[in-house]
Subunit: 597 residues, 2 copies
């Protein structure tokens, strides 16, 4: 049976020592979070995830969800009780303003809870995560009346949320969507069409489900400029929030998937369902993007979360499994063999995962803080800078953390040998669950294109330049001295590769957009490596400071420094390979006629 | 529904134009294989795989195998008829000498059939592939009487074979095995113990199952020097080959696995089962290694096979799926969107797979020819050289082809977006099936260790030096001229990285073996890249020659040249990253105490 312990100590180190959480104390919701409160909140989050969600994960995978003839869906045994506990703890509404019955706490804490919950039970955490995404879109673009009616019920978990974008003929290219919205006399719309791959589309966890649906109002322009966003409740809601008659929307079938079996992935049929426009007609895409951006960060967190739980289990197994002897002579001569953690290649495997996880968590928390600053800071310049950086890094985090997160589940599985391939130890489930994160909320190739074609050139490259300057400034300010310099030199070289790649794109992509497309995936990963390296640089500084203060944590800080060194020596050099691929350009790949593939 | 077409034309190009199959005509079994016969044999192999095996693959995954209360096992619907057709076609005994009722044809053809069959239905192909592996061990180490009794029945497919190594406490480290062999008065042994992860351990395809079992004769030395190899038939066999009473061996349960559901992976219980020693007592490991070496090449082929079938389906989907517009302007303006193969990043994905597949196939065929030469050539020097190269490259092929093969199934799945994650299109099955190949027959970390610790230093490095010289000579002889030079220069640089890494190992691993372990995985992949690059160099030469002869295949050869160029520009540069990791050494990874992971 797999196990899980939430990395509370690492999260506290990152928040307190690396990211200086206390500096944000002047923002709404932050003042209440003293170091003690922070530790207490994370402790409670850990407890719920470890004791309630995680024990349901493996059984949830085996049972899956069941659709009945009346189109209702039953989730795996225990999910309903776990959901009630999650909702009762206030975790869904944690970052939602108190006026909508939320706790008004930092989104950063919510991001951490999402990591813990996704490690413990990813299929489960999607039900609550999607509700949070739908809430974000509703609070930004909904009318006051819509917010009043829906937000408190969603924040409390009585109702859940979904996002309905994909149709059989329409995935990445939302311009192709055909779901139709017909204006009704009462100001509502009748929504008709079919949506597929709808996560949490139907279930038995909550009293109602609030679908956010992209559809085309009759007569609207073709393409993405004719798309509007609608609220379509599963059960219609009276002005006082009471549940009325069932709406004309139903789950047609459940998809049979590789993983996340505990989450109901539905084909949703809308047969003239009553819908309410959110925001302006034909501006649905930008409203939905609020939800998608939050969801993309949430998916990045899933990549980290699966990597973390897979790591923990592989590490424990490597310390227990006796097989073979150390190359440098027996380490446990009294036993029939040494634990496999003595083998360098097992250590290499584990360290590749560990060195990613700790930096990725730092990156997620930094992005989450940016999100808090962008929405809550009283300083307009700070808001703008945070928003710039968050926009730039969101596709990087989504693409890179889910790609590497998945690879890490495969590596962790490998540590188990044949025992990793059978269901018993749970490792193969992590692989199957993690795989979806590379696909949904915009496949990673789309994230890469978003980065090179939209986020990079935006505002004359302002966000990218600011990020490069930030890293360079940190190196200049903190990178000197024998202890920091090895880390700083490595990041400087990596940043140099990223800047060369950026210049190459500026010089070669404008005249020939295929060069941008051909470079995009490697550029995204190059960017991710630099961002992760930058976090390691900040971790190294914090670890050295903590050691210098001598507060009895030297062993832990030495481990941080060694892990960071491993990252610099063995992982960050990948930037030069990424650069070489980028400057190879698009010519060769475009030269092959389609029929010769 | 996924589809599959066996790559017969590519195989013929590799055999005839790149590897000069006709030059081997003086060896037993090769004389009969004229170009026409070759084409005909491959055509028949293709037909069986495409029309009989492939249609059973997806249903076989869904049904899986079922164990009944009497310990019998039923394979998925249709497997028995397919097996009978496979056996009746003479495919199992294809490379077996005619004296044992085989066809005596080249093993090289058998390797190609194994690729086609593993693409079409990997779970199925394991039943026949394991029989071939058991046959190889039997023919090499069995007594004349054992060969007479078992080989013809196995070659004809009436009986199948298995290999029984793993026990719960004993995987990689075979020295830990405890299955016991007690000598009996009649010269046989009573075998007692439990084996796990036994592929094809029990099924309903054949009349009998011949288990090859590693066990320890009572009183034998501890460790690997006390292991012997036994034949343990499922049903005992009379001296005339007639089936007698059931032996005391039975399937205790089936493993629940990530993939290859159509193959019965069994826990096998031996309760004093009658067994017959193969070869000498306590020399079982070397006898089993014959089987394992053949099996390792077979597993390498599975990696390629899953990569190939996943590629074909992704390519077809990319040509059909309409989504978005080309970055350089619409390519099919009359349709609602362009096929996604217009997008550079989709092409990059497909070309990474294609550039691997075509070179990997060349590498497999080259190794298979080495195996034929090593066993059939009349020239002792040629036999030795082929055996050297095969021994050196076997761990490289097993490790690299299964690692990249798996990654490629993931990439191919990604081309489908959400449709790749659901079962319908079959892509997620390829991922799940391909995953096992990285694990069984020696996990890839063990292959890497076999390469650096055993194969590389063997005979004073003779095999490695010969390989480096061979590549260098080819570059010197064929690498000049404007057409060949770009390919030759790239391979030369890559070979330089490999030689630097080899020198580093020589200088740093002897005094500190952990440096070898820490370098092993990267060294294996570095070696694989050079070997694949070398094949591309040979393909480029053959393609240019074919174009120069003007025999109407220019488009196909241009595609080869472009694909090879893509490999040189975007994939081979990875050698420098691998070298950088290798020379980073073991110090950092060994510095972390186990409890700090």
């Amino acid at each position: 049976m797999p196990s899980y312990k939430a990395p509370v100590a690492d999260a506290l180190f990152l928040l307190n020592d690396v990211l200086h959480f206390e500096r944000y104390g002047n923002m709404p919701g932050f003042a209440d979070v003293s170091p003690d409160v922070l530790e207490q909140v994370l402790g409670e989050a850990a407890k719920l995830c470890e004791e309630v969600l995680q024990p349901l994960n493996q059984a949830g995978d085996r049972q899956g969800c069941v659709r009945h003839d009346d189109a209702s869906v039953t989730t795996p045994k225990g999910f309903k009780q776990a959901y009630d506990a999650f909702a009762a703890g206030g975790w869904i509404g944690l970052p939602i303003p108190p006026e909508y019955d939320g706790q008004g706490l930092p989104y950063t804490l919510s991001a951490l809870m999402n990591e813990f919950a996704s490690s413990a039970n990813m299929a489960f955490a999607m039900y609550t995560g999607l509700t949070q995404g739908a809430l974000a879109a509703l609070l930004r673009h909904g009318s006051d009346e819509q917010k009043r009616l829906f937000a408190p019920n969603m924040a409390a978990g009585r109702w859940t949320g979904t996002m309905n974008l994909t149709e059989p003929q329409c995935g990445t290219d939302l311009g192709l969507l055909t779901t139709k919205a017909t204006p009704q006399a009462d100001g509502s719309y009748a929504i008709t069409g079919q949506k597929i791959f709808i996560s949490a589309g139907e279930h038995d966890l909550a009293e109602n489900i609030i679908h956010l649906v992209l559809a085309r109002i009759e007569g609207a322009p073709l393409g993405v400029k004719g798309i509007s966003l609608f609220i379509v409740p599963k059960t219609n809601v009276g002005p006082d929030g009471s549940l009325c008659e069932r709406n004309k929307v139903a789950c047609g079938s459940l998809e049979h998937k590789m993983g996340i079996h505990g989450n109901a992935t539905c084909v949703m049929n809308f047969d003239g369902a009553k819908g309410f426009l959110i925001g302006e007609p034909n501006k649905g895409l930008s409203a939905m993007f609020v939800m998608m951006n939050e969801a993309r960060l949430g998916v990045a967190i899933q990549g980290l979360a699966q990597s973390e739980v897979a790591y923990q289990n592989a590490r424990d197994y490597a310390k227990e499994r006796l097989q073979g002897r150390s190359l440098s002579g027996p380490k446990t001569p009294g036993k029939p063999a040494d634990p496999i953690i003595v083998h360098p290649d097992v250590r290499r495997t584990l360290l590749e995962i560990k060195a990613f996880n700790e930096a990725a968590r730092g990156l997620v928390l930094s992005a989450a803080l940016d999100s808090d600053v962008a929405h809550r800071s009283g300083d307009a310049a700070a808001r703008q800078a945070a928003d710039d950086r968050l926009g730039l890094l969101t596709p990087v985090l989504k693409g890179v953390l889910t790609d590497i997160g998945f690879e890490n589940t495969v590596k962790a599985q490998q540590v188990f040998g044949g025992h990793g391939y059978v269901g018993e130890w749970g490792m193969e489930q992590f692989v199957r669950d993690a795989r979806i994160a590379m696909i949904y909320e915009g496949a990673n190739g789309i994230q890469a294109l978003d980065l090179v074609a939209r986020k990079l050139p935006k505002d004359g490259g302002r966000a990218a330049m600011a990020f490069f300057n930030e890293v360079n400034d940190f190196i200049a300010r903190e990178g000197a001295g024998p202890e920091m310099q090895p880390y700083a030199d490595a990041v400087k070289a990596a940043l140099g590769d990223l800047q060369k790649a950026t210049v190459w794109l500026m010089q070669n992509a404008l005249a020939k957009p295929d060069n941008a497309g051909a470079a995009s995936y490697d550029y995204m990963h190059l960017f991710g490596l630099v961002a992760l390296g930058y976090v390691w640089l900040k971790i190294a500084k914090a670890a050295l400071e903590k050691k210098a203060r001598g507060d009895g944590v030297a062993a832990g800080m030495d481990a941080k420094l060694a892990t960071g060194k491993f990252f610099m020596e063995r992982m960050l050099p990948e930037t030069s390979l990424r650069l070489a691929r980028i400057v190879a350009g698009a010519d060769t790949m475009m030269s092959l006629p389609a029929e010769m593939f």
